[in-house]
């Protein structure tokens, strides 16, 4: 009888106060475990698979809106778009031709210098499903998860440059931390002179910061920052940000350098995940290679 009445536990079981204390303690325990350890990731992925259909449903209104919008696009609009794309294509094609030559030349030079071939970048498109509710945490959930061979730590790009990196992988989704997130850093280089720095997110959507920049550092407004590839997460040479303001106050040892991301970090619908999965295993072998480079770097710039 006791077993059949187990449903009644919630009906006429312990008093509300007891239940409040019990569930509050349970929540606090979960909070503690989740913020300190990683034990709950599997539970999270199971639950996320359960509510995945719900999340797909939430994307329906915006999808309908986009489709309706596309449906009612005027002919002039289309024609204009078409012309613009054609022009873009012509330019790109010309560039691509040059690129072929450059790639060949580069390969020759690299082989001459006996340098490791630069990684070919396999990109995997991923649709942005939704953003996180907390406005101070710059994270997105994209529709490509463990099933699509996404792994934590992979870089996420869009057509303009670096957007962020995958920080958590669920079976069907993955969480992308944007470069504007407060706790996110990207190792960068100034395109103009190759100065190496670290770019910090600020927590604001359109702001990045180069902290610990010496007052005497050669950096100007309008400089483009590209990823340096030193961390192994972001491939080298991708545009990341543009310097908007340099403030040098002799009272402080460091200059204040503000930048904006080159990508519209917050207004993309499709992103690309750099699936370096096949390239990952060989990395430990090549690990001995970077240290000399790193040591050189440390000698140049202590940051």
């Amino acid at each position: 009888m006791d077993h059949t009445g187990s449903v009644k536990f919630f009906n006429r079981g312990p008093s509300p106060v007891v239940r409040l204390v019990f569930f509050s303690l349970l929540s606090l325990l979960l909070l503690f475990i989740d913020s300190r350890h990683q034990y709950l990731e599997s539970t999270r992925s199971v639950l996320s698979t359960l509510i995945y259909p719900l999340q797909r449903l939430t994307a329906v209104p915006s999808m309908l809106w986009r489709e309706a919008d596309e449906f009612f696009t005027t002919q002039t609009h289309l024609a204009r778009d078409n012309a613009q794309l054609r022009a873009q294509h012509a330019t790109d094609a010309a560039r691509a031709l040059q690129l072929q030559g450059l790639i060949a030349e580069n390969a020759r030079l690299r082989s001459m210098l006996e340098m490791r071939e630069r990684l070919d970048l396999p990109l995997q498109p991923a649709e942005v499903l939704y953003t996180e509710r907390d406005p101070s945490r710059h994270k997105l959930l994209v529709r490509a998860g463990a099933q699509a061979n996404v792994a934590a730590g992979q870089a996420v790009l869009d057509d303009n440059g670096v957007v962020g990196q995958v920080t958590r992988v669920l079976p069907l989704l993955s969480e992308v931390t944007l470069i504007t997130d407060k706790d996110h850093e990207v190792p960068v280089q100034v395109l103009r002179n190759g100065l190496r720095m670290i770019l910090f997110g600020s927590g604001n959507a359109n702001e990045l910061e180069l902290r610990y920049t010496p007052v005497t550092a050669d950096i100007q407004e309008g400089d483009t920052l590209i990823s340096s590839g030193i961390d192994g997460t972001y491939p080298p040479g991708l545009p990341v940000a543009k310097v908007t303001r340099v403030e040098r106050d002799p009272a402080y040892p460091f200059a204040r350098v503000q930048c904006v991301p080159v990508t519209g970090v917050n207004n993309q619908h499709w992103l690309f995940i750099l699936s370096s999965l096949e390239k990952l295993p060989p990395r430990p072998e090549t690990a001995p290679e970077p240290p000399p480079a790193k040591a050189k770097k440390v000698g140049k710039a202590p940051q």
Partner: protein
């Protein structure tokens, strides 16, 4: 007297389990819509409202345990820490269940004030966790509890209209 009876009848209306579950799912769906910017701050917490509705109207059906479960689901959907929403909804459900007799005595406008206090309590539980984990008070969500409270009468009327069986439209 007549009014009291009628109000009592509103609270005595039967509610099917599927309807309760459906309303909670719809609320989760609503919360999951791609809100951003100012709308994110203004967004009413529909899950909290629907939970509170059922906690005050059917306290023997929807209790603290279910509120906690819904909170865990909300945590996963939100990619926030496990237990953050669960704690907030636990506090909310507790308030709703303890006060459900009192809420039943008031009319909709007076209920709104009571509900606002409960939502504030729930918000402070959420904000306390936020403060502990992120080191900042999440003031923006407070606006959300105001809009949630303002939506209470509308939501109550909506759910009550939906709960009326289609045949019995003889209500005055």
């Amino acid at each position: 007297m007549n009014m009291l009876l009628q109000k009592d009848r509103e609270f005595m209306l039967p509610a099917r389990t599927t309807f309760i579950a459906g309303s909670l799912l719809a609320a989760l769906l609503f919360n999951g819509l791609p809100w951003s910017g100012i709308w994110l701050a203004l967004r009413p917490d529909m899950v909290a409202l629907v939970l509170l509705y059922w906690c005050t109207h059917k306290p023997h059906r929807i209790g603290i345990g279910i509120a906690w479960l819904i909170g865990i689901l909300a945590d996963v959907a939100d990619a926030s820490l496990f237990g953050q929403h669960a704690l907030a909804y636990t506090v909310l459900a507790f308030g709703g269940i303890v006060l459900h007799r009192r809420v039943q005595m008031f009319n909709l406008r007076q209920q709104t004030l009571q509900v606002f206090v409960l939502l504030l309590a729930s918000y402070s539980a959420y904000a306390a966790v936020h403060l502990q984990v992120q080191g900042r008070v999440a003031w923006t969500y407070m606006i959300g509890s105001v809009t949630s409270a303002l939506l209470w009468p509308a939501l109550t009327l909506l759910l009550q209209a939906l709960r009326h069986p289609r045949g019995s439209s003889e209500r005055p």
